[in-house]
Assembly symmetry: D2
Homo-oligomer: 340 residues x 4
Amino acid sequence: MISFKNDYSEGALPEIMEALVQSNLESTVGYGMDEYCAKAAEKIKKRINRPDAQVHFLVGGTQTNQTCISAFLRSYEAVIGVKTAHINVHETGAIEATGHKVVAVEGVDGKITPQDILAAVAYHEDEHMVKPKMVYISDSTEIGTIYYKKELEEISACCKELGLYLYLDGARLGSALTAEGNDLTIEDIANLTDAFYIGGTKNGALFGEAVVLLNPELQKEFRYSIKQHGGMLAKGRLLGIQFNTLFTDDLFFKAAAHANQMAMKLKKGLADCGVTFLADSVTNQQFAIFTEEQTNVLNREFLFERFGTTEDGKNVIRFCTSWATKEENVEQLISTVKAM
Amino acid sequence: MISFKNDYSEGALPEIMEALVQSNLESTVGYGMDEYCAKAAEKIKKRINRPDAQVHFLVGGTQTNQTCISAFLRSYEAVIGVKTAHINVHETGAIEATGHKVVAVEGVDGKITPQDILAAVAYHEDEHMVKPKMVYISDSTEIGTIYYKKELEEISACCKELGLYLYLDGARLGSALTAEGNDLTIEDIANLTDAFYIGGTKNGALFGEAVVLLNPELQKEFRYSIKQHGGMLAKGRLLGIQFNTLFTDDLFFKAAAHANQMAMKLKKGLADCGVTFLADSVTNQQFAIFTEEQTNVLNREFLFERFGTTEDGKNVIRFCTSWATKEENVEQLISTVKAM
Amino acid sequence: MISFKNDYSEGALPEIMEALVQSNLESTVGYGMDEYCAKAAEKIKKRINRPDAQVHFLVGGTQTNQTCISAFLRSYEAVIGVKTAHINVHETGAIEATGHKVVAVEGVDGKITPQDILAAVAYHEDEHMVKPKMVYISDSTEIGTIYYKKELEEISACCKELGLYLYLDGARLGSALTAEGNDLTIEDIANLTDAFYIGGTKNGALFGEAVVLLNPELQKEFRYSIKQHGGMLAKGRLLGIQFNTLFTDDLFFKAAAHANQMAMKLKKGLADCGVTFLADSVTNQQFAIFTEEQTNVLNREFLFERFGTTEDGKNVIRFCTSWATKEENVEQLISTVKAM
Amino acid sequence: MISFKNDYSEGALPEIMEALVQSNLESTVGYGMDEYCAKAAEKIKKRINRPDAQVHFLVGGTQTNQTCISAFLRSYEAVIGVKTAHINVHETGAIEATGHKVVAVEGVDGKITPQDILAAVAYHEDEHMVKPKMVYISDSTEIGTIYYKKELEEISACCKELGLYLYLDGARLGSALTAEGNDLTIEDIANLTDAFYIGGTKNGALFGEAVVLLNPELQKEFRYSIKQHGGMLAKGRLLGIQFNTLFTDDLFFKAAAHANQMAMKLKKGLADCGVTFLADSVTNQQFAIFTEEQTNVLNREFLFERFGTTEDGKNVIRFCTSWATKEENVEQLISTVKAM
């Protein structure tokens, strides 16, 4: 079976495995206070051109979102996100578990708009309702779309105007930043948000997310929150080693670019066969529409995720590519579809 | 510098690194639903002779304690532990963050007694106070002591009598079970507790703790709690691969036995020099007492943790050995002390 | 100024004030363990014909919802309610503050449907999402509509089928049960729900809500939850005295019937003047539509709440009647509108 | 039976009942935004000579402590209190339910000392432990003792030095401030703490606690926290009316003084009979020591609380007086004891 099920089906990029093996018997201090973490943080701060940033390394995405949101908000404050937001749907209430409401807004193409934000803030008019205090976005989004520079600038300006923190979930940030048509840089993101994270798990690391805190208000005592939410890895250096490798020679961006190339080949190949898509994704997640019969045919050779159902009862199938996706496997998928 | 600072200073046992490298490019499903996790769970269930157990793999100790305690208790229920318990002191309030009080009792030699438990339950007499519903112990304890079979049997009986769950934190379970004089087996622990975890992080894994749920009441829907607390690793197989390796040819116990041998050598060597100890630890943590002047001498060559201060103002120094500790380094420590 | 602002603008029914004054210097035990609470609970159990019920008295509605939901659910479980539900909008995240997500569904006329419930449960398919475990409804609803017997029976059957608890917020239950066209009895509610509360605050008490627990699973140790959420009133008898009075000679229903009569008079009077309404409310909240200019005219003589805005930019004005509303004041409102 | 069981056995001071009856049919706005609350707040601000203070009215003590502590602290911050503190023992984990650890220290005579505070802060040395950020005291304490001016000044200075908030639980503040030997004024308390509350429930109100926020950092958006914790009473004026009455002609202090006089008479009378006490309480709670046999004799005529047991197995009996205690009942108790 060939898997397009997700972008975390394999282990890690060979460069990362090599670095882990090389350093294996070195003795370091724990909990992220080691030299590898320090070096990786320096590289990231340099890459985003923000020497004033704080960089922390956590293990996974839900943990990172939970830790950040809980750290940033006071007990009665809420976070605004689109309905499809990962924090709203796919984290088993991890945000609510820390006491905070997720205020869900409609969005367009999986992306939030300044109008959504303004309306949500206007609606929450007094102390009988939660107080929205931050906006959560992800790039790329849950349906594979990306934020363009003008969009992010407008959202950022809107948040500043309203006194809201802007936080970007970058679980698939690599894919977003290397997508066709993308005009955002990682420096832009650092300048337009109050905090964001750079996703390692879905871009070639064994695991790991690098949280970047820009707003000094959010930097204070952040390690307390990491520890309280079970995110302080004893062998913290494993995260330092991995991000150090990812941010050497732009490996992070090269790995993501490969995933995108495979996705674009897949998209074009399927479109040429007449397949239609849920949205025009330019990143490593492609949401293609098939009948149940076609789905069953695909099922014989391929692993993938059923994402949902269209209004006329067809299946939305997610094909996910990654740093590890082989071109020949994409070609085989196209052949199979062509033959259907 | 030679480090006796902790048992998570190095990477992983060579066998584990090898297994991770071998499997690196295999494609598996995520979130612990893969074959490696299934196999590791089977091995553990067989080793503890409890086919009815559930085994789950989490990343770290604080996360595991938080997830289990939050999953097991209703909102007004509390957990009883000794004052020095990891959950009471060293988890930044992770348990309270999920809404539960830790009822701290005195204990003896870092261990809880049936008397402690009975008194705590008697004290909490009505609905104006929290309701104690579980007992937390760790083996080995925070000060390196271990539970003997008779002790655990009595605690277990006491808990059953009072309707309390008994949970054992096994962050250093390997060291406890291979300690001189230990008369508990891992099967005993499975039969005497409602749930426990087998610590990988401090015994040769890169990271990872295996939660074993024995009481069927506690098995229900446990994966929801893992996810909600950010503990569901995307590449869950990394945990399966590691525990599969640890439970092949008893590697888990062999690694711990080495750590203990090094600790016993260190203990005897220092005792022969007239050094005294905080408690009679039979495991891989040794708490030795030195003057400030002596501490400064040791500081030139060795890394270690300052654990506290004795009543007469001397330092309590923790020396921690591990699977990775070299005999020559222990000898060098003894030489240095001898020369002081 | 004449107030139609809410149904808690005045103190209490004269019978209640009388009972409080009469008993004022009696000495009783605290925390709801007194004879008045016992008597009131007995009367309620008799009135609903459920001797197996448990009755508890709390101070206010948000507190009651928070206490019940937190008591009934495990940490990863969620409650389903319509978008306009009080718990979703007007409780400053009190439910999320106890760790639980409110899953908001669309509803019809402020009421949930079995289809809403089925869809919500189907959507939450695995442990990466919260687990819906209860349904929250209110009768009357936030927009003044009521549940009919057939509707509640279908919702109840749907919940049983899916293993969900059904909880009814009765902040305005009196008004619902005495509304024109209502075919539900309080006995029906007791038989069709797992728990509900009878609202005193908005129906003539100084304060107070009577929680009725039907499902034995939900009865266990409920007083712990009351205390933990700050709802255990020291002078608990104040609640007992009030509910004892309300459930003597059906005062509870008579007070609500008066509020409804005033609302129907107001509704008819305004409709005769050509005023239109947001929904066809049969209870003590009427949502009338006025232009901004008309609103300003009304503002000179009357207090009321601005509830929202229609799509064509008119104001939705809430007029709320109560046990204390005077007929002459309703007539004056009608006169003023007639003259506009 | 004559009750010395607690200071909330009766209803309210006649002046309060009168005021509630008088205002009963007035129509006011809800949620504490009415004129009575405004007036009561002004009176309190004037009485404490702090026009910059914020005053809020809540229903009960546990609710008030929970709301304040949750509002003041960030998620990983903790509150320090003595072991016997109400928040540590008698609130069913209400503080932990909002995510915060109570760091319990030994104290002397039920009171915290600067040494306790310094030691607790020193112990919590890094992000692996909670961060103490506030100190909780109560005056009078759980065992009836009071803070003297010098003590409170030293605690206040210590808190300032360490960057901790100082919060005073005044459930029995009236009794403390009118006790024999007391040298603290309510103005002193306002100047030495960051926030405190004035207890109505245990000093002649039907219910109600007035929170006084002095530190501007703690004043921000406090009403959100009140609402979120279920403490925003719909008929908020009931609180305003009561505190307005209590702070007219110093009724608050007069009521407390009566309770203390009765307690002193009781104390002297029992001491003259040779009875000994747990501590030298100068307030309305007296903790007397009796044998089981004596206790049984007392039980025939009197209601009281068993507070605990002495080391030599005798009973500690709490006698509680209040604004409503009759002198003849105290005399009868003394007679009974004399006759034993």
